[in-house]
Structure formats: structure tokens, C-alpha cells
């Protein structure tokens, strides 16, 4: 079981309120990702759930019980830190066994559980090593191993992949997703990387300045962002925003159109401009087009290789079905 409810919680550091009253419900077995720019309060929110920070007001419920005043050790949650936070003076075996030792399990039982976890995480050959002798990916696995042995009600991940190189990051992302499918335990995952959020989450919580901007499935956020912030944050490359005459045509203060929803042509189209930079990835081509009448270049994503070069005159046409309209508050218009 791992259902977590946040009820009107707030957090202030001195006079500064970093989390204004916030409500959130996380269901048992869900993979929830907190995403937002740095300083948006996502890590603070995670630490409030963990109990590593005291909440200023409000209530945290874990599995229906009030956990607001419960110390972190007694909340039944496990956490994986950005720096892994392994115990450098202990072997991998002792690191993974530490929570079991604290729980007072006997030696034989500890060994069984550690070996089982090590098997799942491919760490069997490294059990007698110290963390200092492991690679980044292996350390990450030890941190996860230490979290899974105690069979927590929920896992908390604080930007666990940000210290890994790009290739390893993709691997670990898959491993964590697989782990979630196997264990079916609630996971709360903090990241600033919207790709991680989109690929792993059942539910994404987009935060900005301590405020929840939107909660929803990855595709809900992609298709119907509630406001300009979410629209700009979710999706890669970023959504293009246009104002003035461009948006007036659609009866909105701002319109947004994703790069993959614009078609490009040499001969005809709705907007005309010149190619500034073109990035050829093989599978896709990204064009940054300087459109007449717009300050920022418009990003266009075309599938496959397209033959446009710097300086080419091009014409762009948005897919009218895929245009997002926002009012002057930045909120989505129906």
C-alpha cells in the first residue's frame, strides 16, 4: 500500500513561503513525476513527504494515517538521492542491508534479502566492494537496492539520474520503469528533465514557484496544457508562441504551435521566412526559421531528412487542429 495525500500543506523558510497551500493525491502504485524548472519547489515537496523537512502547516496522510508528525524513519518510505548518499565506509552488502539491520532483522534474513535485491540489480559480483570502487551506474543501483530491500510503501527519487552520462541515463530510466512494473509500488520521482517525466510517469505534476500548474497524464499535458507555462515546459523542442497579428487571427492573446505540427514548403504556405539554423539528426530535421513579423525564430520539426539549408526562403503552415489558444492571463481557451 502506498497512498499519499497532501492536504493544504505549506512550507516557509523564515519569511519566505516556498510552497503556498497545496493539495495532491497520489494513488497506490502510481508513478508520479514532479517536474519543473530549478527552484520550483519540487525537491522541497519531496523532502516534505519524506519527513526530512517539517511542514509549516497542513497535513500529510500516508495510507490513510496522519503522518505529519511522524519522523522519516517511521514513515515507511525509501528515498534515492541525487548524490546516491551511499555509506562510503561500508561494503555494498552492508549498504543494502543497513535498513534491514535498523529494522532489527536477523543476519540470515538480511543476507537473503540483500542477495535477492543484488540479483535483480546485477550487483551480485560487487557485494564485497566499497561504493568508491563502483561506477556511477553501479552506485545508482546500490542506492536503489538499499531502497527496495525494505519493501517500502513508496519510493522517493530525487533527481536520481542527473549525475549520469546521457547513455547511462537512458538505460537507468528504463530500469527504473521496469522496476516499477515489477514491484507495482508507488513511486514519486523528481526531475527537471521533461523527457524523463514524459517517458516514465503515469501522472505528471508540473510545478512552478511552489504552485502546481497542472496534474495529468503525459499525453493530457501534451495535448491540453492548462496554461502557457505547461505548454512551453512539456514537449521537446519547445512549443512556439506567437502574439500580435498572428494570434489575433485566432481570437486569442497568444497562440502556441508545437514544432512537429508545422509543415514546411519551398513554394507556398501561411507564413514566410528564412531558415536561420538547420539541425540534421537523420531521423528528424529541426529548422529555426526567422519569420517576417516575429522576434523569435519559429522551430519546425520535420520527420526524416529534408533539404533546407541556412538562408533558404521557406513557407510554413500550421496544422489548424493543433493550435493552442491562450488568453491574456496565459490560460488555455476552449
Amino acid at each position: 500500500m502506498g497512498q499519499i495525500t497532501l492536504n493544504q500543506i505549506t512550507k516557509s523558510f523564515g519569511d519566505v513561503q516556498v510552497i503556498p497551500p497545496l493539495d495532491l493525491r497520489i494513488d497506490d502504485g502510481e508513478f508520479v513525476v514532479f517536474v519543473g524548472p530549478s527552484g520550483c519547489g519540487k525537491s522541497t515537496l519531496l523532502r516534505l513527504i519524506a519527513g526530512l523537512e517539517d511542514i509549516t502547516s497542513g497535513e500529510i496522510n500516508i495510507d490513510g494515517k496522519d503522518a505529519t508528525e511522524v519522523p522519516p524513519a517511521k514513515r515507511g518510505l525509501a528515498m534515492v538521492f541525487q548524490s546516491y548518499a551511499l555509506y562510503p565506509h561500508m561494503s555494498v552488502r552492508k549498504n543494502i542491508a543497513f535498513p534491514l539491520r535498523m529494522a532489527g532483522l536477523d543476519k540470515a534474513e538480511q543476507d537473503n534479502k540483500v542477495e535477492a535485491a543484488a540479483k535483480v540489480l546485477n550487483l551480485t559480483d560487487y557485494l564485497e566492494r566499497r561504493p568508491g570502487q563502483l561506477s556511477g551506474g553501479q552506485r545508482q543501483r546500490v542506492a536503489i537496492g538499499r531502497a527496495i530491500v525494505r519493501e517500502p510503501a513508496a519510493f522517493l527519487f530525487d533527481e536520481p539520474l542527473s549525475n549520469l552520462d546521457a547513455a547511462l541515463r537512458v538505460n537507468m530510466r528504463l530500469e527504473i520503469s521496469e522496476l516499477h512494473q515489477t514491484l507495482e509500488t508507488t513511486m514519486i520521482y523528481v526531475t527537471h528533465d521533461q523527457v524523463e517525466a514524459m517517458t516514465m510517469a503515469d501522472k505528471i505534476v508540473v510545478l512552478q514557484a511552489g504552485i502546481i500548474e497542472q496534474v495529468g497524464s503525459p499525453l493530457e499535458l501534451y495535448h491540453t496544457p492548462r496554461n502557457r507555462f505547461v505548454a512551453g515546459f512539456i514537449g521537446s523542442p519547445k512549443m512556439n508562441f506567437m502574439m500580435g497579428a498572428f494570434s489575433a487571427e485566432y481570437d486569442a492573446a497568444t497562440i502556441g504551435i508545437r514544432p512537429e505540427h508545422i509543415s514546411v514548403s519551398h513554394t507556398e504556405g501561411k507564413w514566410s521566412g528564412k531558415v536561420g539554423v538547420s539541425e540534421h539528426l537523420g531521423s528528424d530535421t529541426f529548422l529555426y526559421v526567422d519569420v517576417d513579423g516575429l522576434e523569435d525564430p519559429v522551430t519546425v520539426r520535420s520527420t526524416g531528412e529534408v533539404a533546407f539549408r541556412h538562408g533558404d526562403a521557406v513557407h510554413l503552415t500550421p496544422d489548424p487542429e493543433k493550435i493552442h489558444r491562450f488568453d491574456n492571463q496565459g490560460l488555455r481557451m476552449a
Binding site: 526530512l52 519522523p71 524513519a73 538521492f81 555509506y87 543497513f98 529494522a103
Partner: protein
């Protein structure tokens, strides 16, 4: 940019380093040499350096007249006891200052250090009276407590510096793993800080061993450590330099040997944190 250091420059530096080192060590060397002279040779003018009749007579006389082992034992108990006691008090204190600092933490640290700026004689009278009142005069327990208290600021400061180097996330991880505060300090913080704790321990044993103000003023016979042993050969005896030197050599020998064997640890401890 590589710095070109010529051989000549290296030689000069080496000679200068040795000269300064010998200059600092000279008084100790002279004491040791004097302890092997006769009283007459000790005050010979011009002073005799290496060419005199080496004798162990002073050591025999000193051992005969006073019970060296009793003083040594008192020193061991007082220096060791005050250090261990200090660590027991200082580890939790440094933990709270390093990992849950408040707005006043820096001020408290400064205030603690400022107590070291007060001349000890300034509080001799009240402490002496307290000792009489509590029956602690000339007891090992009384001296242990006083030396623990006077060295406590240094112990806390040193431990605080070492603890600051330990990432807080590791302690938080222990908390998430179900460790109580006691377990967190015992199983995670202390083992990780062992190098720092070891050098703090060594430095404080040395400080307590050499402490001469309180040990002389608060003891008479029963609890007197080696500092009192040396003192008993100075003023009342007049100019018995050779015996005084023998007593001094016997008193500093244990700590000198300890320092020699642990110098690597000591230097590492004292420079820890300066270069990561």
C-alpha cells in the same frame, strides 16, 4: 606554468628548513643532553655539548626520590580521561552545529573560542573554591573534568570542521533507512569522521598532558601528574639542572613517542578540510 626551481635554490631551502627545525628542537635536545651530565657539567661555562662524561646517575636519583610511575599513571588517566569525556560531550554538540545549524551557531562557536582568550588565572579563585566545596581538590576526577572543560572548545571546533565535510544527504539517507539519532551518529557519522576524531583525540591528549597551570594549582600529592613531577625539581631545589632535565625528559618521553608515531595522522588532521 611550470616553475623552474634550480638545484641551488633547492639546496638553500633544504638547509634553511633544517636550520629552523633544529632551532625549534634545540631546547628539547639540550634538556635531553643535560639530563646525562653531572650537576657540575650542567652548569659548566662554556657549555659542554657532546663531549662530557655521560652518566645515568640523574635518572637513578630522580627515580629513587620520587615515584615516577605514580605521576605517569596520573597523567595517563587525566589526559586520556579528559579527552574521552570531551569527545562524548563534543560529538553530539558538533553534530548539531554542523547539520542543524541555527542563526546563532556561528556566534556560539565564537563565544566558545573566546573562553580560551581569558587568562586561566582569572578563574583560578572561583574554581579553587568550588573544588574545596565539592571535595575535588587533589583528585583525578576533578582534574579530568577541569581539563575536559578547558579543552572542550577546541574539541568542538575541530570536530565541527570535520563534520562539515560530511555530506548531509548521507545522514538523511540513514534517517530514511530507519536509523534513530543515536544509530545515525554511531553507525554513520562517527565511522566516517574517524580520521578527524583520531587527530582531535591525539591533539587533546597532548594538550592535556602538557597542561601545567591547573594541574599544578589543583593538586598536591595524590593526583599530581608529570607536570607536578617536573615542577618538584625546579625552584625549591635551587640549581639542580641535570636532575630537572632528567625529570623533564622522563615526563615528555611518552608524549614525544606518541607524537612521533602519530605525526602522519596529526598533520593530516590539522590540515584536513583545507585541501579537499
Amino acid at each position: 606554468m611550470a616553475r623552474a626551481v634550480t638545484t641551488r635554490r633547492k639546496t638553500i631551502n633544504t638547509v634553511a628548513a633544517w636550520a629552523i627545525g633544529l632551532l625549534i628542537f634545540f631546547p628539547i635536545l639540550w634538556t635531553i643532553l643535560t639530563s646525562f651530565k653531572t650537576e657540575a657539567q650542567a652548569i659548566n661555562d662554556p657549555p659542554l655539548f657532546l663531549f662530557f662524561d655521560w652518566t645515568l646517575e640523574n635518572y637513578a636519583v630522580v627515580q629513587e626520590r620520587s615515584d615516577y610511575m605514580r605521576f605517569l599513571w596520573n597523567s595517563v588517566i587525566i589526559a586520556g580521561g579528559s579527552t574521552v569525556l570531551g569527545l562524548i560531550v563534543a560529538v553530539p554538540a558538533a553534530w548539531s552545529m554542523a547539520f542543524v545549524p541555527s542563526k546563532r551557531t556561528k556566534d556560539i562557536l565564537m563565544w566558545m573560542l573566546s573562553t580560551k582568550m581569558l587568562p586561566a588565572v582569572g578563574v583560578l579563585y572561583p574554581i579553587y573554591l568550588l573544588f574545596i566545596e565539592m571535595g575535588l581538590l587533589d583528585t583525578r576526577i576533578g582534574l579530568t573534568i577541569v581539563l575536559m572543560l578547558i579543552n572542550l572548545p577546541i574539541i568542538v571546533w575541530m570536530l565541527y570542521t570535520y563534520f562539515k565535510e560530511i555530506p548531509g544527504e548521507i545522514l538523511e539517507a540513514a534517517r530514511m533507512d530507519g536509523a534513530t539519532l543515536k544509530e545515525e551518529i554511531l553507525y554513520i557519522l562517527t565511522p566516517m569522521a574517524i580520521p578527524g576524531i583520531a587527530s582531535t583525540l591525539l591533539l587533546n591528549v597532548i594538550l592535556a598532558w602538557n597542561e601545567a597551570f591547573w594541574t599544578l594549582n589543583l593538586t598536591a600529592a595524590k593526583a599530581a601528574p608529570l607536570t607536578a613531577f617536573i615542577a618538584s625539581y625546579s625552584s625549591p631545589e635551587g640549581l639542580f639542572y641535570a636532575k630537572l632535565s632528567a625529570a623533564s625528559t622522563m615526563a615528555i618521553a611518552p608524549i614525544l613517542i606518541l607524537g612521533w608515531f602519530s605525526q602522519k595522522q596529526l598533520v593530516r588532521g590539522l590540515t584536513f578540510g583545507a585541501v579537499k
